[in-house]
Structures are given as C-alpha cells and as structure tokens.
C-alpha cells in the first residue's frame, strides 16, 4: 500500500499550494490535483463507484471555479503581510487543531485497525443484497433500497442547492424595480 501514502503526501502538498499560492486560478488547479488524487485513492481503496462519481464531480468543480475566477479576478490582494486581526483566529485554530488531534487519537484507539473493518451492519447487506433487491452491486442496493429514504433526503438537499444557485444567478431584475439596469 505504499502508493496510498505517496498519494496522501501529494495531496497534502497540493492542498498547501492551493491555500497559499497567489494566483487564484492556480489555486483552483491545485484543488483539482487534490480532487483527482482522491479519485485515484478511491480506486486503490476498492471503491469504483466512488471513483467514477468523484472524477465527474471534480471536473465540474474545477470548471465552476475557473468560470467564476475568469469572470471576476484571479489576483489575490489579501496575500502577505502581518495583520493584527489574524492573531486571534490563528491562536484559536492552533488550540482547536491540537485538541482535535488529541480527541481523534483517543477515538481511533477504539476503532479496529486500518484494513480490518468491523462490518456488523454490512454483513447482512452483503448476504441478502442480491436476493432481496436483485442488484449485484451491494453499494447500489444500499443506496436505492436498504437506505432509500436516506437517499431521498439527500436528493432534497441537492435539489434545494440547485434551486438556490439558479435563484442567485438569475439575470432578470425584479418587476417594477429596474433601477440596477440589468434585466
């Protein structure tokens, strides 16, 4: 599993580049490196469904970022320089980060080790998935049948977000208030 650790290291470096590089378009490309590395990780972790979805979604994410940055500006005027109002957030962040890692270490001591999942719930899904739902892909059987209501709720969130995007990006002005000049 050495390639897993190489990819994780590459992702951490790309993430640092994404949040520190001056040019915003380059930052979006660095974010794309992280996302496509996640897709390759999904293949290594034996999750082909996730890898397919991640490749499609990551492509769209980078296109969205590029579209917004090209229509606005790609220079980040906030980079560099010591600013006093950043001291408090940084202190709070470092404190929270240490606490987070401490709690995560405690919690992970209770988890089964990496590569040995407990699979208490999954055992039944794997045993009965094909017979009960007729789906050879156990992941599809869980999404569309065993946890169908969960998926329905998530689709509601997706629909709401899409309606939100369409409402915000709508070009037409409000009726009777054409003062802004677009419409």
């Amino acid at each position: 599993m050495i390639e897993l650790y190489v990819l994780l290291a590459a992702m951490i470096i790309a993430a640092l580049v994404a949040i520190e590089i001056k040019d915003l378009l380059a930052a979006a490309v660095a974010l794309g490196i992280v996302g496509f590395s996640v897709a390759i990780m999904f293949i290594l972790l034996q999750a082909p469904d996730l890898a397919i979805v991640q490749i499609v979604v990551e492509t769209l994410t980078v296109v969205f970022f590029a579209a917004v940055i090209l229509r606005t500006t790609n220079s980040d005027t906030t980079v560099g320089g010591f600013r006093r109002e950043l001291v408090l957030p940084t202190v709070v962040y470092v404190g929270f980060g240490l606490l987070f890692l401490l709690v995560a270490g405690q919690a992970m001591a209770g988890l089964p080790g990496f590569g040995n999942p407990t699979m208490l719930v999954a055992r039944e899904y794997i045993a009965l998935g094909l017979e009960r739902t007729g789906a050879g892909n156990v992941v599809a059987a869980i999404i569309l049948d065993f946890r169908g209501y969960d998926t329905l709720g998530e689709v509601t969130v997706l629909f709401t977000a899409v309606v939100g995007v369409l409402t915000i990006m709508r070009r037409a002005g409000r009726k009777g208030q054409g003062a802004e000049g677009r419409g």
Partner: protein, 113 residues
C-alpha cells in the same frame, strides 16, 4: 493508522484556510478540502486488506473479502451534495464581487451601509 491521521491533517489544512484567509474564493477552496478529507476518511475506514469491490459478478461467488459497502454508500451521495454546495457558494461569491468589486471580506465589511 498513519493514513487516517494524514487524512485528518488534510482536514486541518482546509480548516486553516477557512479560519484565517480573507479571500472568499480561498475560503471556498478550504471548504472543498475539508469535504474531500471527510469523504476520503469514510472510504479509508471501510477498507479491508486484500479486499475486492463489493460487486457480485457471478452466483456462488465468495463474499467474505468484500470491502465495507456502507461507508461507500454514504459517501456517494455526499460527493454530489458537496458539488452542489460548492456551486452555491461560488454563485454567492460572484454576486458579491459584482456588487463590491473585491473578494476581500474585510473590504466588504467596510463598504457596508
């Protein structure tokens, strides 16, 4: 175990961008990084050594070395929702830029009212 901690490190990098950066696009990038880290964490927790994808290709196949399908099913919808929320944030950022001509959140506060 090292892989899980490296994944949490990626989450903390994203959180750092959200907390300390003043550029809106940079904050959205931080949110996306946190989201990738959480999705990857789920897939890492469900991984099994010498496992195969949980897809039954022929009847009578041994199903004992399938990786855990439950985290995969949860993450599959979370990835798509992540795209939708990122698009919503980007749309808001674009409208803010059209109104204030800047991505700097401190400048936007100053121009208010």
């Amino acid at each position: 175990m090292i892989a899980l901690f490296a994944c949490l490190l990626l989450l903390l990098i994203g959180l750092y961008a959200v907390v300390t950066k003043r550029n809106i696009i940079r904050i959205i990038i931080g949110f996306s990084l946190v989201e990738y880290a959480v999705n990857l964490f789920f897939a890492l927790v469900g991984f099994k050594h010498n496992g195969i994808p949980p897809i039954i290709t022929h009847l009578g196949q041994s199903r004992s070395n399938f990786v855990d399908p439950v985290p995969q099913a949860l993450v599959l919808t979370a990835i798509v929702i992540g795209l939708a929320t990122t698009a919503l944030m980007l749309a808001l950022a674009m409208r803010i830029y059209e109104k204030y001509r800047t991505f700097d959140i401190t400048e936007i506060r100053r121009l208010k009212g």
